[in-house]
Subunit: 253 residues, 2 copies
DNA sequence: ACCTGAACACCGTTCAAGT
DNA sequence: ACCTGAACACCGTTCAAGT
């Protein structure tokens, strides 16, 4: 390598041999994940292949393996990046329920912004920094609500699963990330018709409660799920009659 | 290659024409799903390809397309079959909570018996008969518990999602469907060490509550999630102070 | 020493050419 | 008329051969 080649890129550094192209930014995990997220957003999860990502970076698929461990690792990095983009705010003990809803709403929004990303399941081992920060915030909000620490610890998982399920549900309905209000209404109507049309002999309850089964927007059902989980934990904290016994918290090992 | 090389290895069965073989049962969707489930159980989800399934049925991949709409459709059929195998029992208003736990436990067991099947997400349109029957049973149990009909209707979805999430969690931990108690203990220990080892500055709550975060077996957490959801719905039924308002049930259309 | 073109061992799906 | 071998258009991943 000559001194000239090592010089910073300001002024006109002509690289005659690999000429013309705008200086092709060096590869990095970050650049790869950026490119992959762009493809995910515009073309969907199936379009995110090692080849398409590489091509969009002006290189070959083989070159990606220096920076990511493979397609699996790339998807995990993408999910981590999306998770890291979620705004967190310090828990407030007076507004905690509102904060919980708005935090989970932001998580949901971040996921559906990249249709298909919610289908990525992390192997439990490498808990990423972004997910830990999200969990820390979630745990803080639940504790600010004076929910029992053991319930709060386990509740984080449940709430995350609720959000992931809602996002996945959204993904299968609008695989391209688009979707109108009319689509939603049509779908709800169709679902309702399916339920009322069922044989009352084989499905007495579903057909009798067809309206309730089909009721609500995705958002309403999402909010309901969160409230049910929170109310459930609060009910246990106040030791309601109906509630089953609390699990014993014990140190593993 | 000589003719001898082509002959099967037990004794000398020469494949004269198409006969000799045990009459090759005719293809059907049922037979294809059976074969696919067998491969799923023994080799995992990734091994379920149109080619491997076809080969195990002594035919070519192309022949399967007469009976199933493609790999997607095959997977849906497999999930439906697994769902259909779950034993249902009429709801009892005195034992409803026990029934709920045991029903969901059976759903969970059916799913983890076929590692990977829980990762299959149905496109919402074709609600299968087996899933409708399961939902009918679930709805009946919740109504037997005198849970508000609107809550019960939406609760079915939440509970199904909880089970699916638990089964998926189990799948990523033991991709082959096997797994010992020691594995579980090791994993819990590792998780605990990860949590206590975190910076108390960046993760004050997680590191302070490491024991609770890592506590419990998968089964304990599963039971907890169910109880929380049920307790939440009960709390709303009795109009607890902390509970947020119930959604209004309205007919779509 | 580093990068990558080309190869390998697969996929799901289609369809023309056989029976 | 039906079935299916072979082909098509892809995959993820590896590695020898180039620079």
């Amino acid at each position: 390598m000559s001194v000239t080649d090592d010089a910073p890129q300001n002024i006109t550094v002509r690289k005659r041999s690999t000429r013309d192209r705008p200086a092709k930014a060096p590869l990095s995990e970050e650049a790869i994940i950026d490119a992959a997220l762009a493809i995910l957003k515009s073309e969907g999860l199936d379009a995110v292949t090692m080849r398409t990502v590489a091509t969009s970076l002006d290189t070959g698929a083989a070159s990606l393996y220096v920076y990511v461990s493979g397609r699996r690792g790339l998807l995990e990095g993408m999910l981590d990046r999306v998770t890291a983009s979620i705004r967190l705010e310090p828990p407030s003990s007076t507004r905690w329920r509102l904060q919980l809803h708005s935090l989970l709403q932001r998580v949901y929004q971040a996921l559906v912004d990249y249709p298909g990303i919610a289908a990525v399941t992390l192997p439990n081992s490498p808990v990423t920094n972004a997910i830990l920060l999200l969990t820390e915030n979630l745990l803080g909000i639940l504790l600010a609500g004076e929910i029992d620490p053991q319930d709060a610890a386990w509740g984080c998982d449940i709430l995350v699963q609720v959000v992931m399920a809602a996002a996945r549900e959204d993904d299968v309905r609008r695989p391209d990330g688009r979707g109108t209000e009319m689509d939603r209404q049509n779908r709800a109507d169709e679902l309702y018709r399916t339920f009322v049309g069922l044989s009352p002999l084989m499905f007495p309850l579903i057909s009798a409660h067809a309206a309730q089964m089909a009721a609500g927007t995705g958002d309403e059902r999402f909010r309901f799920a969160i409230d049910v989980v929170v109310d459930g934990m609060l009910a246990r904290a106040s030791g309601g009659e109906g509630a089953s016994s609390r699990p014993t918290s014990h140190r593993p090992g």
